[in-house]
């Protein structure tokens, strides 16, 4: 085993000699340094290899001088040390490569020297077991960092460096005082010896002991930048060279973190609690302040501080928890640390590369987007990146130890972080024409009825405050290439390779960890989407023909579906068919795409597979993993839309919030298994758990109050994506409800409703109503459809929450039929949009003559969707009202009926305005939609007709799927289905309808057979002058103005206002909070001392 002294010794020797090497040639020091770093890395790797071979023989203590500790300073190499050093040294190596390879690299002379001393210092911090030696290495690290900050020869760098120096000096002073007192009280400086002592007994004789330890702790804690005394650190992240920031954040901070971990074994429990609190506060508030941040590097600084905060929290926790838990949670800290090291470094590097390139070009540079996505995703703790698994483990441990509050803190902070990180991402992806906000058309002001509509618009806009801020990120980023437009072409691709290596490390670590975590429950299959995604993106990066890709993907999905569906039954099978078959059919339309659309096919494929995985996951982890994968992929897919940046961000945030809520709910339910298993014996209903899980589901379903993300997401995403999301993915929420409800809702049924389900029912009913009303007033087709989906899913929620046989059948029935109708509608509309290139309904009209098949599709689907007999949509309505009245939910039934009447209105408007009326000049030469759109439509129509004729084809299996949970409530006699209230014979209705239809038609044909004359388009009995503004003259514009006039005032979007309020509040909270960062170094010094005093006072209170 290689002695760690070589790292320190040889490293320092080479550092000392570097000035001499420089005389040999300018590049020589670089090369030597890089080789040294590589050697460091290799040594660390060799340790890891060796240790993993014989874990029990480690950690090994290495002595200096030849005396055993405590007589001489000793170094320790154990698994944790080795792992951390591998990560740190690899990051340092990559940093070195980046610094020497980047464009116009000035990495030479003292910068290299300081770089090397920094790395050596960090290695020493990790290795040493002596408190004072730790101080020395801490000083090496600090001084190197102080100096490196100034390597960016720019006034802000000096300012930041000086503040950093002040803070660091105060921290050192605390540490030094602590160390000398600890020596006084214990007579040694060797950590292990102190740990072995009976500190409680010592405390009795030396009352100052705890304060000595506290001062040591404080010294290191301050170096770890706790909120709020961390303004100096953030300044440094902002002002220094990004590559240096990467080093400070990734390498420097990691070393100090490890040192902190090392001394944490001295902490008494009270102190550990204070550390936990400090870490938690840092984590949440840094992210909160970060929300408001517009300068990218400063934002990354807040993120760094937050990440370190969570690790500090874990370090505190592992002192409090039981030993097993402590080890578990510590492993998650290591993972988080590694995750932070590589992702944060990667982001800082990317931000540096951006300095040299025109920002807007990123959208067209797939590799950059992928890299960004990887780093941001891993920082935000999204699957499959390491942080996801780490946070999962943390949360599991915390849940077992009943530390719910901390879980909430962690998730809240993660949510904030995802918020601002992805705000940045969306900014980068933004198209020139993208306003960065959710796009909604302006209603002209002089139409008085529109006031409430503009209210909707303005408040939704205010809600997108995040997205607005995103706009300013762009402005604040320096765009050097303004003067030099060719800069992007001159970039050095090798640098990107360095960044790519970092991302590969993150991905690989994530996948390996995932395999490790999922192996426990035999759920390795769940990683398939990740593999598919990676393979697919490589496929795209290589510019292989996308049609082959599509065919491969579809074949893969088919195979996967076949394998999965074989093993499913009951409700699972229903959802399986819904998810897999439903999406597969929709993928056909992708064939129309002419050129390569980067990432589209891999992401869709992975999304579908993730949906499928929801069905086969058996553990909380598996389920949550697949759920998060689905969420992330959906939001990425939405982000592909040209104007979807605001919408995608909103979707991501709401979905993550929902997912986290669900996660807490799942955690609250201790012996949880996701299998739908009949009736379970549950004595106390975990109402809170039900509530939280339901929130998760309702976010996905876009239920009223949580629907804010929905219209923008469905409307701004590409058409195929909207279709997939609204018809398939939204059902995942329903699936969640079904799959979890049987565990705790059903057992309670005999005693009546549990309040949550009643609440869900009302929410469902009002979602249906609100969705319909919102849809009514949209001029934009896709918004109409989006709100329509929201309303329809509301029905399903309502039916589900009935918790009766009929209710569940209804819910499933509606889910299946809605998939059909909405997919058809979206596809047909997609064809229209594809041809007309506009989404405003008032810019269309008369398309029936150009797109007859699309017209028929739309006609059929709106008849079905609005529940008009004889089509199968009526079945859903019939089941719903029957179920509601049976259950006694009369008022809900009333609301639902009103909603369905309103739904009829907007659906009619949809078909009328697009297809009827006068054909526009610009559409005169239009063709029918491409065949790729039409095939799924025809298939869908056939299925609709089939189900309409023979409703038992659909209701029968659903009934059987639900039967295990409830007793049967409907019976079949021939084609007639009987409930306790009424009956319905779909077959007969169909025949009667056909009969009464043919009769007048025949009459008409007979009467008019010769005389009917087709007239030209404008041949109508109408003469009047045309007003000025074209859209207002269109018959379809503001179609149901009466409604708005009648009810507009009730339609003020309360939910939107509420969320606007929440966002504004959070935002302004962050804004107020960051006022503490006055920029004055002295104030920062004061904050540090005050912080220390407060912590010490808290500690004293604890004694």
């Amino acid at each position: 085993m290689v002695s760690p002294l070589y790292i320190l010794g040889i490293g320092l020797g080479i550092a000392f000699l570097l000035p001499l090497f420089e005389k040999l040639g300018k590049k020589i020091p670089r090369i030597i340094t890089l080789i040294t770093l590589m050697v460091f890395t290799l040594i660390a790797v060799s340790w890891v290899v060796m240790i993993s071979g014989a874990v029990d023989k480690f950690p090994v203590i290495f002595n200096t001088i030849g005396f055993k500790a405590p007589f001489a300073i000793s170094l320790q190499v154990g698994l944790i040390e080795a792992l951390v050093l591998v990560m740190i040294n690899t990051a340092a190596l990559l940093s070195g490569l980046f610094l020497s390879l980047r464009k116009d690299s000035h990495w030479e002379g003292k910068q290299i020297v300081l770089f090397l001393t920094l790395v050596i210092g960090v290695n020493g911090l990790v290795l040493t077991r002596d408190l004072f030696n730790l101080f020395v290495f801490l000083e090496i690290v600090s001084i190197s960092m102080y100096a490196l900050i100034a390597s960016n020869d720019e006034k802000h760098a000096y300012e930041a460096g000086f503040k950093y120096l002040i803070a660091g000096s105060i921290a050192s002073a605390f540490y030094l005082i602590g160390v000398i007192y600890l020596y006084r009280f214990t007579g040694t400086l060797f950590i292990d010896q102190i740990v072995a002592m009976d500190l409680a007994a010592l405390q009795a004789t030396h009352p100052g002991l705890v304060f000595a330890i506290a001062l040591i702790m404080l010294g290191l804690l301050i170096e770890l930048k706790p909120f709020p005394s961390n303004g100096w650190a953030i300044d440094a992240y902002e002002a220094s060279d990004p590559a240096v920031s990467a080093m400070i954040s990734a390498v420097g901070a990691s070393g100090v973190v490890f040192a902190f971990y090392k001394i944490s074994s001295l902490f008494p429990p009270e102190m550990a609690e204070i550390v936990v609190a400090s870490g938690a506060v840092t984590f949440v508030f840094s992210q909160l302040v970060g929300l408001r941040q517009k300068r990218v590097r400063r934002m990354l600084g807040y993120s760094s501080v937050g990440q370190i905060g969570i690790i500090v929290m874990i370090i505190g926790l592992q002192r409090i928890l039981k030993i097993d838990d402590a080890q578990m949670i510590m492993s998650s800290a290591i993972i988080l640390l590694g995750n932070h090291i590589f992702s944060k470094a990667g982001l800082f590097w990317l931000s540096d590369i951006f300095d040299q390139e025109q920002l807007r070009r990123v959208r067209r540079r797939p590799l950059m987007i992928v890299l960004f996505g990887v780093f941001l995703g891993s920082l935000a703790g999204l699957p499959p990146f390491p942080a996801f698994w780490a946070k999962w483990r943390m949360i599991t441990v915390l849940a077992e130890s009943d530390k719910l509050f901390l879980i909430i803190i962690i998730l809240l902070g993660s949510l904030f972080e995802a918020g601002y990180l992805f705000r940045w991402f969306t900014t980068l992806l933004r198209d020139e024409s993208d306003p960065g906000d959710i796009h909604e058309e302006q209603i002209p002001e002089d139409i008085p009825v529109s006031s409430s509509q503009t209210g909707v618009v303005s408040s939704t806009r205010a809600l997108a405050a995040l997205a607005e801020n995103a706009g300013s990120v762009v402005e604040e980023l320096p765009v050097l290439s303004v003067e030099d437009p060719t800069a992007a072409e001159k970039r050095n691709p090798v640098v990107l390779a360095v960044v790519a290596i970092s991302s590969v490390i993150v991905i690989a670590a994530g996948v390996l960890l995932g395999a490790e975590f999922l192996r426990a429950s035999n759920e390795l299959l769940l990683l398939i989407p990740v593999a598919v995604l990676t393979a697919g993106i490589l496929f795209d990066l290589l510019h292989l023909p996308h049609r082959i890709h599509l065919i491969l993907a579809m074949a893969g999905i088919s195979f996967y579906s076949y394998r999965i569906l074989m093993g499913l039954d009951g409700i699972y099978l229903v959802f399986g068919i819904l998810f897999l078959t439903g999406s597969l059919i929709q993928m056909i339309s992708l064939y129309v795409k002419k050129s390569l659309h980067f990432g589209l096919i891999p992401m869709i494929t992975a999304l579908i597979l993730s949906l499928g995985n929801l069905l086969i996951s058996t553990t909380r982890l598996g389920f949550f993993f697949s759920w998060e994968m689905m969420t992330v992929l959906s939001s990425l897919l939405i982000l592909r839309g040209r104007k979807a940046s605001g919408a995608g961000l909103r979707y991501l945030l709401f979905s993550l919030g929902g997912a986290y809520s669900m996660l807490i709910g799942l955690m609250l339910y201790p012996d949880f298994s996701l299998l739908l298993q009949g009736v379970r014996d549950v004595s106390t209903p975990p109402v809170l758990a039900v509530f939280l899980i339901s929130i998760g589901a309702m976010v996905k379903m876009g239920s009223l109050g949580l629907h804010i993300w929905l219209p923008g997401a469905y409307a701004e995403a590409e058409n195929e994506i909207s279709s997939l999301l609204s018809s398939v993915v939204s059902k995942a929420g329903l699936f969640l409800l079904f799959v979890t409800s049987s565990l705790y809702l059903i057992p309670l049924l005999p005693s009546g409703n549990i309040p949550v389900s009643v609440l869900l029912g009302w929410i469902g009913a009002f979602t249906a109503l609100a969705g319909a009303f919102f849809a009514l007033f949209q001029e934009d087709i896709k918004y109409t459809l989006a709100y329509s989906s929201m309303g329809q899913v509301g029905y399903m929620l309502l039916a589900f929450s009935l918790m009766t046989h009929l209710g569940w059948v209804t819910s499933l029935y509606m889910a299946v039929t809605h998939l059909l109708f909405k997919a058809l509608l979206f596809l047909a509309v997609a064809g229209v949009l594809y041809r007309t290139k506009t989404r405003m309904m008032y810019q269309m009209g008369g398309l029936i003559k150009r797109m007859p098949i699309s017209f028929i599709t739309v006609l059929l689907s709106i008849i079905a969707l609005s529940g008009v007999p004889p089509l199968t949509g009526f079945g859903g309505k019939w089941l719903l009202y029957t179920a509601l009245i049976e259950k006694g939910w009369y008022l809900q039934a009333g609301v639902a009926m009103f909603a369905s009447a309103i739904a009829f209105l907007y659906l009619f408007r949809l078909i009328h305005v697009i297809f009827l009326g006068q054909l526009k000049d610009e559409h005169r030469a239009m063709k029918e939609a491409p065949i790729g759109f039409l095939i799924p439509q025809v298939v869908g129509m056939i299925v609709i007709m089939l189900f309409s004729m023979y409703p038992s084809l659909l209701i029968g299996p659903l009934q059987r799927a639900v039967t295990p949970f409830f007793s049967e409530s409907i019976i079949w006699e021939g084609y007639t289905v009987f409930s306790t209230l009424g009956y319905w014979n779909g077959n007969a209705v169909m025949y009667v309808t056909i009969g009464v239809f043919i009769f007048p038609l025949a009459w008409l044909l007979l009467m008019q057979r010769k005389h009917t004359r087709m007239v030209e388009q404008f041949n109508i009995v109408f003469a009047a002058e045309r007003p000025d503004r074209p859209e207002t003259t269109h018959f379809g514009y503001n179609f149901f103005a009466h409604y708005r006039r009648a009810l507009g005032m009730y339609l003020t979007p309360w939910a939107t206002r509420w969320w606007t309020g929440v966002v504004t509040l959070t935002d302004s909270l962050g804004g107020t909070m960051r006022r503490i960062y006055t920029g004055n170094g002295q104030t920062y010094a004061f904050q540090i001392i005050l912080y220390g005093t407060v912590l010490l006072l808290l500690l004293r209170g604890g004694f």
């Binding site: 009827l916 005389h1011 109508i1020």
Partner: protein, 304 residues
């Protein structure tokens, strides 16, 4: 089997013939009654027949497209279907129609069928005034559906059925068994919404276009218009029969059906003669106001 179908077809034709003629005559009579109230002489009772025949024998028709052509067909099919799903006379085989196909919910939703077809046909004409009428009509329809739906829910809750035949059966045995007496709140709500449904004053804004040519049928002429007029008779009849069945004990004979529906219709005419016309938004607000509250009250009474 074939025989059964043939017999059923025959019964259906009889039933349709009766309701068509009854509807046309009722329309003519009421027009006269209205005229008397307003101090005019009015048109002959058989004027609707004249209109229909005149329209149907027009030599030429103008069509704006397939949907325009099919619009009236949809409309009439809607009317016919609505009627056929309601049992017109309780206990009568001839007038049982196709009530076995579905319950009250089917009827309520089938009403939309004709509306939709009509609106689509009018839409394709491309005349800007058609959609104005359509929009008004649909908007008003969705509003008056609310009290009606609540009323239906209330009585369904009360009688625990949704079958129209069942309702009639349950109301047999004396006038006090009629729902109008057992559940007056629901009846009031339903009868107010019936005013809207029959589109007489004050809710005649949809029909209003026929006085000045604005509205769904603006472009309709010849056989198309004739078909619409036929439908108005049948559809009116169907609605009257439905309300009679639901709230007024149904009918055990054609005669009682005629009397009851006549009285119900008379009520709308009288109300219509004494009120001015509402604007569309006013009528929406009206229906979603007091009638809805009454409907909710009816439902709440059932819940207690």
């Amino acid at each position: 089997m074939m025989k059964d179908i043939a017999i059923k077809a025959g019964y259906t034709l009889i039933s349709l013939f009766v309701i068509t003629n009854y509807g046309l005559l009722l329309g003519g009579t009421m027009a006269r009654v209205r005229a008397k109230v307003q101090g005019r002489i009015g048109q002959p009772v058989w004027q609707p027949y004249i209109d229909i025949i005149k329209n149907n024998v027009l030599r030429t028709g103008i069509s704006h497209g397939v949907m325009f052509y099919l619009g009236p067909v949809f409309r009439l099919a809607g009317g016919l279907g609505t009627y056929l799903f309601i049992p017109a006379v309780y206990g009568s085989l001839v007038f049982a129609n196709f009530a076995f196909s579905g319950d009250l919910l089917l009827v309520m939703y089938f009403i939309f069928f004709g509306q939709l077809g009509m609106a689509l046909g009018a839409g394709q004409s491309g005349h800007p005034y058609s959609p104005i009428g359509v929009a008004r009509g649909l908007a008003q329809m969705s509003a008056f559906e609310v009290p009606f739906a609540l009323s239906v829910i209330a009585i369904a809750a009360q009688y625990q059925t949704l079958s129209v035949t069942e309702f009639v059966a349950l109301q047999q045995g004396g006038i006090l068994n009629w729902i109008v007496f057992t559940n007056p709140l629901a009846t009031i709500a339903a009868m107010i919404s019936f005013l809207g449904m029959s589109m007489g004053n004050p809710f005649s804004i949809v029909i209003a276009p026929q006085e000045i040519p604005i509205g769904p049928p603006t472009e309709m002429q010849s056989s198309f218009l004739g078909m619409l007029q036929t439908n108005r008779a049948i559809f009116n009849g169907a609605k009257l029969v439905l309300f009679m069945n639901l709230y007024f004990g149904g009918a055990t004979s054609v005669l009682s059906m005629v009397v009851k529906t006549f009285l119900i219709y008379l009520y709308t005419v009288i109300v219509g003669a004494s009120f001015p016309r509402f604007r569309a938004d006013q009528s929406i607000r009206f229906f979603l106001g007091i009638p809805t509250l009454i409907g909710i009250a009816a439902v709440v009474v059932q819940m207690i």
